[in-house]
């Protein structure tokens, strides 16, 4: 439970502290680059999730952890 409280507090701090961060709409030239996209290698991540899901006890984190897979 303490871990959960920690998570919630961290998230709140992040959100409130973040209003001063960021860029103007015309300053997104670098962030608009294909390699700076969060899901720029969606297929690779999906393959990795499947492999590690079947070999290790952890899954998910970046997205949902369900695998639709009987491998674990």
């Amino acid at each position: 439970m303490t871990k959960l409280t920690f998570v919630v507090i961290t998230l709140c701090l992040l959100i409130s502290g973040c209003s001063s961060l960021g860029v103007e709409p015309w300053e997104r030239d670098i962030l608009a680059r294909e390699d700076m996209a969060l899901d720029n290698a969606k297929l690779d991540s999906a393959y990795d999730d499947h492999i590690y899901f079947s070999k290790e006890a952890s899954s998910g984190g970046s997205g949902f952890s369900g695998g639709g897979c009987g491998c674990n």
Binding site: L11, L31, D44, G60, G68, G70
Partner: protein, 442 residues
Amino acid sequence: MQLTTAQVKPSKKSKHKNIRQLLKTATGCLLGATAAAQADSKESFFSGWETDIAILGYTEVDRVSAIEPVVQTQKSFDDDSVLGFKLVVDSLTGASPNGASPSDQVQTFTRPSGNGSYQTPAGETPLDDSFLDTRVSFSSFYEHGLGRMDKMIWGGNVSKEYDFFSAGLSATYVHDLNNRNTSLSLGVSGEYDFIEPVGGIPIPLTQMQAASSPQTKGEGSDTRFLGEVLIGVTQIIDRKTLVVVNYGYSQSDGYHNDPYKVTSVVDDNSGSLVQGESLSGTYLYDSRPDQRIKHSLYSKVKRAFGEDSADLSYRYMWDDWGITSHTFNLSYRKNYNAWYIEPRVRYYTQGEADFYYHSVTESQSENIGSYLTSDYRLAEMWSSTIGLKVGFKTPDGNQNSIRLEYYHQDGEKNPSNAVGVQKNYDLFPTLDAFIVQYTYSF
């Protein structure tokens, strides 16, 4: 004259583009033909799909190998909605550890079907070599805006393999704020799994029986439900940096055992085999709680360095089975004009589940409690991956990439609680695997 409004395309590329267009239309037809959504009235539904095709080869040294082709396609409509489909086929063959420990004697095991048996020579990790499975999985998503700052993403997937069926749905709400510099997301998902093991469901903690004897199997099938909540914050820090923090909670209820895994019972002093009810050794079927609650905390930083970019992520996971894990991932992409090179490292480490034993002694087995597993995936272990990806653009702008990776998994091979002859053998089945992937996007 309307000619001025036309886009200028270098003419020599037209032929390639047409063939590509045909390909795009064909994949659009194949994967999207049943979808009714027609958001863009000015263009055909079948044009403008962006498609990736990929094939992955996965080979473990002396164990499993798999071939996994994928086709995925998606289209962004003029109203900012996106529709996507994905088809995965996964075909697997080879040998997998059955959970039993190496012994100083030849060991005989019964195949999951109850028909026939296989033997493991003395000193070797017992592997069930009868693994052969094909998985087909289909998934789709639909993303649409709710005003300029909010959107919804709906997802669905079904997956079928010989002994397993799974169906899931998910919904994610994304809200942008701070001039789109912050993005909050809240997602929920549900998954239903149906497990129908070859030879039926083994009764937990009962002994594996010889092929000629009646099997200790109960029902033919069982089910499991998985519910998840994922909350996330994505924050743009500056022109070159963005950060993601996610928290995930998942709860699954139902059948969690591995029906094909057993745990060896060994002699208290010699560490050698204990005569079983009908086999020369004693092997107890896997038994895990019927609920698992997992938490994960995930963070990712992406930063551009000139023309290049780095991607660093860390995940902390803990569950109520007593497992905690840490995952680190770092990749660096060096961009050149029409190509890039991207080395990558990953390190993973986990603690063992409360009910993990590499094997149990005879006296331990008498009061072991309700749960017992020797599945190496629930053991204390660590693994590392090194990889290299090379991508290049064809003259007409299509992406190709090749990815090569090496995965090494290791654990406690000589645990301090090994008994007698066990001290001579590796009690953790070390794993080495190679991954090759080719992707073409058009």
